[in-house]
Assembly symmetry: C2
Homo-oligomer: 561 residues x 2
């Protein structure tokens, strides 16, 4: 086959490949562009699959953006589906292909794109071949799960892994009327994405919504019926009945083809690429779920496979395979999910990640309404900011709630991209009208708390630390400054907690607390901070407020019945 222009071969028809092909075609009318895809489908919206399973999306075809005919007719791009690449022969500049159950043939390239994606990791659990146990990778998986739900009418779902897919599928199974148990090896939901106390807000909500969450428990295998159907998920600590199961403990990059061809992998064990998304072979580009990218906060490679990144990679690669020098700057690990009506998002580093990366960390957690408090329809959100205590630079953010979360995450991702500090955030000219925001956004509040902590105006204690102190420190006094009614409804059930409403606190004499370590708390920490300042004005020096107060307290509370 003789071609006029540059021969571009793209391995993988997910997000990167079609995008790169379209872009390259627009720049280079003469290029010979081919996409090779192992499966039947190209250019599909993998992230929509849980909503196809839940029934929010009725037809799986809605998830397919473009088909092979479109690429041929509109863009003169050849798409070879059901064709596998067996090996990359870098010396000869060609890939060796095989049609499913058919002939083998070579394809020469001038530029090659490796976009082989990632695969759900399925550990070698005993019984995993039983009917009714699924993973969720491509459209065929999604169709298989939905068909199984319809035909077999299972009632009890077990999900192994409380990551993004696990929780989105918990919502999908609930929407189909199943009871759901999620088993997670670590101690909280979305453990790779959130800090403990933020994740616990989501966890408590999911329990209220009828999702059974089991943490710190390892799945060990499955038991089946005599007919070969799954009937139990086995764990270290006893079995969990189920008649359908999903394994969603994470994905691994598909790197074997690249590795066998001698392309370098990076520290995160995905394909290493430079800022042009070039591998160590300058004729070979790689992008999407099979590569690692520079993290814009740490500057180090990170493996964060996401469809949004893959789309951007596609454009950069499309530019570069036809001679461009377009740069992909990096990622922030931004992620968001909707789980049973609650939104949860993050960007940059969590507190734990920031500490591990060696930063002296200052955090703030605020829990305001997402819009003006007096405008109908508002909802509370919890926003945690993580900053570098030496410079004030913002390192990361997490946000959870039934209110507008995505906006805050996106603003903060934008701020992180340019290295903004808490002071920069505090003065951002964000849009304000009562239906969309308060005059001061959650971000402004959280940034000001960081500033107050850094300049010593505000002193606080995180819930985990207070919990530890509660059962030791002799001279600790915890002052709950809420109203009588609030106190009756719900409180920390602990002997060190005293109820002194704000009105009374101003009358309180300093000598009652001299020599004590005082922690103030309220519902959201706004009054607790005021109380700290009031007690300081009385001459007391060892006063802190509880970060996030009761709205973020991740442990048990005492409720009036």
């Amino acid at each position: 086959m003789q071609s006029k222009g540059k021969r571009v071969v793209i391995i993988g028809g997910g997000a990167v490949g079609p995008k790169a092909a379209s872009r390259a075609r627009r720049l280079e009318p003469d290029a010979d562009i081919k996409i090779i895809e192992r499966g039947k489908f190209i250019s599909y919206a993998a992230c929509g699959m849980p909503y196809y399973i839940s029934g929010d999306i009725s037809d799986s075809r809605e998830l397919i953006a473009r088909d092979a005919a479109y690429f041929k007719d509109r863009l003169d791009v050849d798409v070879l589906t059901e064709t596998e690449v067996l090996s990359i022969d870098r010396k000869a500049g060609r890939v060796n292909c095989r049609e499913t159950g058919g002939r083998e043939f070579p394809l020469p390239y001038d530029a090659l794109v490796v976009a082989t994606g990632a695969e759900p990791f399925v550990p070698p659990l005993e019984g995993r071949e039983l009917t009714g146990i699924f993973k969720l990778k491509g459209i065929p998986d999604a169709i298989a799960i939905r068909d199984y739900l319809k035909k077999e009418e299972p009632r009890k779902a077990a999900i192994v892994g409380a990551g993004l897919i696990g929780l989105e599928m918990a919502e999908a199974f609930r929407a189909r009327g199943l009871s759901v148990t999620v088993v997670e090896m670590l101690d909280w939901p979305l453990p790779a994405l959130l800090d403990f106390e933020i994740a616990t807000i989501l966890g408590k909500y999911l329990e209220e919504e009828g999702v059974n969450l089991v943490f710190s428990r390892k799945a060990t295998g499955f038991d089946g019926t005599p007919g070969g159907r799954v009937k139990r998920l086995r764990t270290e600590d006893g079995p969990i009945d189920c008649d359908v199961a999903l394994i969603s403990i994470g994905v691994r990059p598909n790197t074997s083809l690249a590795a066998e061809a001698g392309l370098e992998l990076g520290p995160a064990r995905a394909i290493a690429v430079n800022e042009f998304l070039q591998t160590n072979d300058p004729a070979i580009y790689a992008g999407g779920d099979c590569v690692e990218c520079k993290h814009l906060v740490t500057g180090k490679p990170a493996f964060v496979p996401l469809g949004s990144t893959a789309n951007k990679h596609g454009r950069v690669i499309g530019n570069n395979v036809v001679g461009g020098r377009d740069v992909f700057p990096g990622i922030l690990g931004t992620a968001i999910a909707k789980v049973l009506g609650m939104a949860v998002g993050r960007t940059g580093l969590t507190e734990r990640e920031a500490v591990e990366a060696g930063y002296k960390v200052v955090c703030s957690t605020v829990t305001p309404n997402d819009i003006a408090h007096y405008y109908p329809g508002g909802n509370r959100i919890t926003l945690k900011l993580v900053a570098d205590g030496n410079t004030g630079r913002v390192l990361g953010a997490q946000c959870v709630g039934k209110g507008e979360v995505a906006k805050r995450i996106d603003v903060l991702a934008t701020a992180l991209s340019s290295g903004m500090s808490a002071t920069d955030l505090a003065n951002l000219d964000l849009s304000y009208a009562p239906p969309y925001n308060s005059a001061m956004d959650a971000i402004h509040h959280a940034a000001n708390v960081i500033r107050n902590k850094m300049d010593g105006t505000a002193r606080s204690i995180p819930p985990q630390q207070l919990k530890d102190k509660m059962n030791g420190q002799e001279n600790l006094v915890i002052l709950d400054v809420r109203s009588e009614r609030e106190w009756r409804e719900l409180r920390l059930g602990h002997s060190k907690v005293r109820h002194v409403p704000m009105e009374r606190l101003s009358q309180t004499a300093a000598r009652d607390y001299e020599g004590k370590e005082i922690v103030t708390l309220c519902k959201s920490s706004v009054r607790a901070y005021h109380a700290q300042k009031m007690l300081e004005r009385k001459g007391l020096s060892d006063v802190k407020f509880l970060d996030g107060s009761l709205l973020v307290w991740p442990y048990d509370v005492k409720k009036s019945k």
Copy 2:
């Protein structure tokens, strides 16, 4: 009266004053802090008033955040309501006050804060003293309008001025069942905030929702009933019947007190302040609706009175009156409004403003869904980006639609704050999950169109220019590349428009169009851009697509009945 600490006097109890007072108190336990307010209320949410009038908010007390007792009890701040400041005596370091209908007295200050706000501008229209004609400034105005609606049951509202307040009040009157006519002197709604073609999207929507919009028409006066009630708004071009009217043509800063004391006003005729919000008298600070701020794009002073800015000013001033050196960096003129279910927002410069400021401007307009196209509940938005064609730096953005507008505006305001370019925007790691976004955000698309235009990949023509050309240029051909069905439903009714669907275009021979100036269009410009590239591959060079295509076309179209 002897005080232990620094004497801080604040003129004005709106947003700046209470915020500055609280902040100063937290930093300085000994300061003697006083707020002087002419009216009855302090610390109220002026932006909520249209929603109180509409009935979305039932009780006006919801709009009042804090009262004088709160400031005294919690913060030891004295609030003197119904007290006017007559003059500022800078030499003596005191202000001269008068209680409403009562005694006069001086108040000495070490630091003074001028937060006198702004006043709606009411031109000297004949008949403006008639009953039923309102302005909307403070809580008493809002209560008066709502009471009037209840008692007098007017049926026809006339609003003079299609700015933010005018349109929010159009919604409020509609919500109360009135017919509404808005008369605007300029040519489109929100003329100070939006470019013509973006504003026209909002205008068309409002007309569909039953709001009667009258542009390019000046109000000249009012006629009344024998009983002294308004019954007609007179305009240059005939009268408009009404039994209630609102004048909302903008606000003017309250600067007389400052000017009489010799404080400098700036080019925007509001009080001039430095980055510490200090006036030319270092002991006197000013903030909120009475000052002008540095615009972060142009670097020049701008008068943009907004509650969100006032709140930030309050904190900066609170820091500085007790010895701090906190900086307020500036504003972007960010604004947003909800008008009858449509959101409309902007930040930075409009195209017009950018051209006037001397930039070589490149714009892009995209019209995608606000979330994944396959996820239920999504809505279209229109996003226009304005960039500096020499550097790619983004100068401003406008967004309108029933979908998620605020998020895009806030991300772009954040990007503008750090001087990001279109290339920076194109790679932002924004959050993605189908309920919240597409894999590529509207911002990514719009930024890539800017990049395509700058590197010559994409060539387009704005609607205003095409309109001009349609009735001249002999060799112009406009190709509508949409499907047969779309063409039947709606099209540009003009002899130069030919219908050549995409499928047919690939078969079209280049010689049919040689020597012609070709403009392609579709619904949203995605296919029109593809068509441009396809025709270029055929060897045609003078091909452009219509910016925003039919979704943004601000002129008449031909619809099938």
